[in-house]
Subunit: 313 residues, 2 copies
C-alpha cells in the first residue's frame, strides 16, 4: 500500500487509516494495543485489569437516513460502540457523546435520539457521563466508550493459530435492510468467551465476513478455510449477501480444536452458534471470488437515498 | 429553562445540553462527576486515583476555515481536549480520534492534519491509540481523551467559596484572530494548581470570561465581584473583547484568600498570573452589561467566511 496514494477512492477506508496511523508508536508501556484492533487496550491497575477505549461516529445519510426513527438512531450510535467492546470480551463502563447538529435541527428530535441512547445505555449497563454539542452541516453522533476487563484478559484479533476452529454468532446478511438500527451487541457472549478463555481471537463483523475474516487471519498471521455451506444466513439471504453485507455486528472468533466440542455443549446463550471453518498455516487464503469484497464506504457507489449500500458481488 | 423550547436558537448550546442531559443519573458509584464539568471523572483503583474522560469535536467552517494550515487544524483539535484536562488539573493518558471526511478529501491534507495531532500529542505526553474514519459532508475531527490524577484529586468547578480570590492565567481576548489554532493548553499549570491544592475551583475559558465565570460561580453556589481593571488583556484588545471573545483556553480558578499571596510568590511558570476578583456570598452577581454575553455558536449570527465570530457586546 502506497503512502502517497492520490485519492481516497484508491486508498479505501482501511487504506487511509493505515496511511494515517501506521507509524504510531505508543510512548507509554500502559498501551497494550493501539490502532488495529476493535478497541485500544491500556493496562489498568494491578494484575488482569485492562481499560478499553473506543470512538465511533454515526452520520446522517451515511449510517442512517433522515427518515429513521430518532430513538433508533440513538440506539444504533451507542450499540455500534458497544459491539466493539463485545468484540474484545470487555464490560462497558462509561460513554461520552459529541452531538454535531444543524442550526435548524428540532430539539424534539434530538431528545428522542438521546432517549434511544439512554435506553440502550440502561440495557447494557453503561453510564452516560458527558456530552458536547457543536454546529455542523449534517447531524452526527460520536460515541467515546470506556470499558474494562477485570480478572481476565481482553481477546485480540491476533490470537488465532493454525488448526483453531472458526465460529460465528447469529445469522449473517440482510442486516442493512432488516435490523441495522436494532441489532443486539453481543456483550454477554463476548464477555463469556473471554472469561472462559474459549476465544483465541475475537472480533465483531461490521463490514461483512468476507472483509472481516481476512483481517482476523492477517492479524493472527494465519490463513483460513471457510465451509461455505455452514455459514448461517438470515432468512432469504444468499451466500454472497451473507459474506458481503455489512453491519452484522455478530462475533467472529476462533477456538482451539480440542475445545470446540465443549464450547458447543456448554454455550449458555440463545444466540445461534456455528462453526464455519478452520484456520490454516500460511497467509495465502483460497482464492474465492466471494471473499475480500465486503463493505467500504469510500469505495462504494452511493444510492439515491444517500444511504450506504452493500457492494455488489 | 423550558424543556420543550421550540427551537435551538431559543435554547442556545448550553440550554440544549441541559435539556438533553439534565436527568442523567449515574448508575455506578465509580462516576464522581458526569455532565456539567470540563471532563467526566471516574474513581480509579485505590485512593486518590481518578480517571478523566472527555470528548470534543472541531468542524470545518465552524472551528477552522478550509484555508487553515492543516497541521494547525490537527493541533487545535487535540489541544482543545487537552485544555479540558488542564481545566481539572489532570494528566493526559491516551486519545482516540474519529475523522469524518468528504469522499473528495485529499489524503495529503489529512496526513498533514494528523501530523499536527501527532506533534501535539508528543509535546503534551499523550498517546494516540486508535482511530476511525467515516464519510461526512464536512470535515470533522472528534477527539476522545482519557486522563488521570494519581495521588491528588481533580479540581471541580464547584469548589469556590465566598471570600476566595479569583485568578486567571495568560491574557484574554483576541484569540480567534491571533492564536485560536496555536494556543497552549495549560496542562502543567493546571496539574500544579491541583497537586499543590491551590485551586478550590478550576475551569478553562472557552466561551469567554463573561460566559464562563458565571458558570463557575453557579456550579459553586456563590457570586463574584470582578475587578475589571485587573483583567489581563491581549495587546490591542478592549475590555469588552477580553470579557466576551471565546477561545482563550486560559485557566480560571479560585484560591483561598489566605493562600493568594503565597500563590503569587511561588508560581513557577512564565505564564502570566493575575488576580481579577473575589467570590461573594449569594448567587446574584452585580448587574454588568459586559458579563453574561460570551460565545454561543447556536445563537450567534455567522459571518461570510463561515468562521465563528464573537458576539457583539
Amino acid at each position: 500500500m502506497k503512502a502517497r496514494a492520490s485519492s481516497l477512492q484508491a486508498l479505501g477506508e482501511k487504506g487511509l487509516l493505515h496511511v494515517l496511523t501506521r507509524h504510531w508508536k505508543a510512548r507509554s508501556k500502559r498501551v497494550l494495543t493501539g490502532v488495529g484492533d476493535d478497541c485500544a487496550v491500556l493496562r489498568g491497575e494491578g494484575k488482569d485489569h485492562y481499560l478499553l477505549f473506543k470512538t465511533d461516529a454515526v452520520v446522517e445519510n451515511v449510517h442512517f437516513t433522515r427518515q429513521a426513527a430518532p430513538e433508533k438512531i440513538g440506539r444504533k450510535a451507542l450499540a455500534r460502540a458497544l459491539s466493539d467492546l463485545a468484540a474484545m470480551g470487555a464490560m462497558p463502563v462509561a460513554a461520552v457523546i459529541t452531538l454535531g447538529l444543524r442550526a435548524d435541527e428540532s430539539p424534539q428530535r434530538l431528545r428522542a435520539i438521546y432517549r434511544g441512547m439512554e435506553k440502550t445505555a440502561k440495557t447494557y449497563g453503561v453510564d452516560l457521563v458527558g456530552g458536547e454539542t457543536t454546529r455542523a452541516e449534517q447531524l452526527f453522533l460520536n460515541i467515546a466508550l470506556l470499558g474494562e476487563c477485570r480478572g481476565y484478559r481482553p481477546v485480540l484479533r491476533s490470537g488465532a493459530r493454525a488448526g483453531d476452529f472458526l465460529f460465528v454468532t447469529g445469522r449473517l446478511g440482510g442486516t442493512q435492510a432488516a435490523r441495522h438500527l436494532t441489532f443486539e451487541p453481543r456483550l454477554a457472549e463476548g464477555q463469556w468467551l473471554a472469561r472462559q478463555s474459549f476465544a483465541t481471537a475475537l472480533m465483531d463483523l461490521s463490514d461483512g465476513l468476507g472483509a472481516d475474516l481476512p483481517r482476523l487471519a492477517e492479524a493472527s498471521g494465519v490463513g483460513f478455510q471457510l465451509d461455505e455451506s455452514a455459514i448461517p444466513r438470515a432468512r432469504g439471504v444468499s451466500l454472497q449477501a451473507a459474506l458481503n453485507d455489512g453491519e452484522d455486528y455478530e462475533l467472529l472468533f476462533t477456538v482451539k480444536a480440542a475445545r470446540a466440542e465443549t464450547l458447543k455443549k456448554v454455550w449458555p446463550f440463545a444466540t445461534p452458534l456455528h462453526c464455519i471453518g478452520v484456520m490454516r498455516k500460511g497467509r495465502k487464503n483460497p482464492a474465492d471470488p466471494l471473499i475480500a469484497h465486503g463493505f467500504d464506504h469510500f469505495k462504494q457507489r452511493r444510492g439515491g437515498a444517500g444511504f450506504r449500500r452493500k457492494l455488489g458481488g
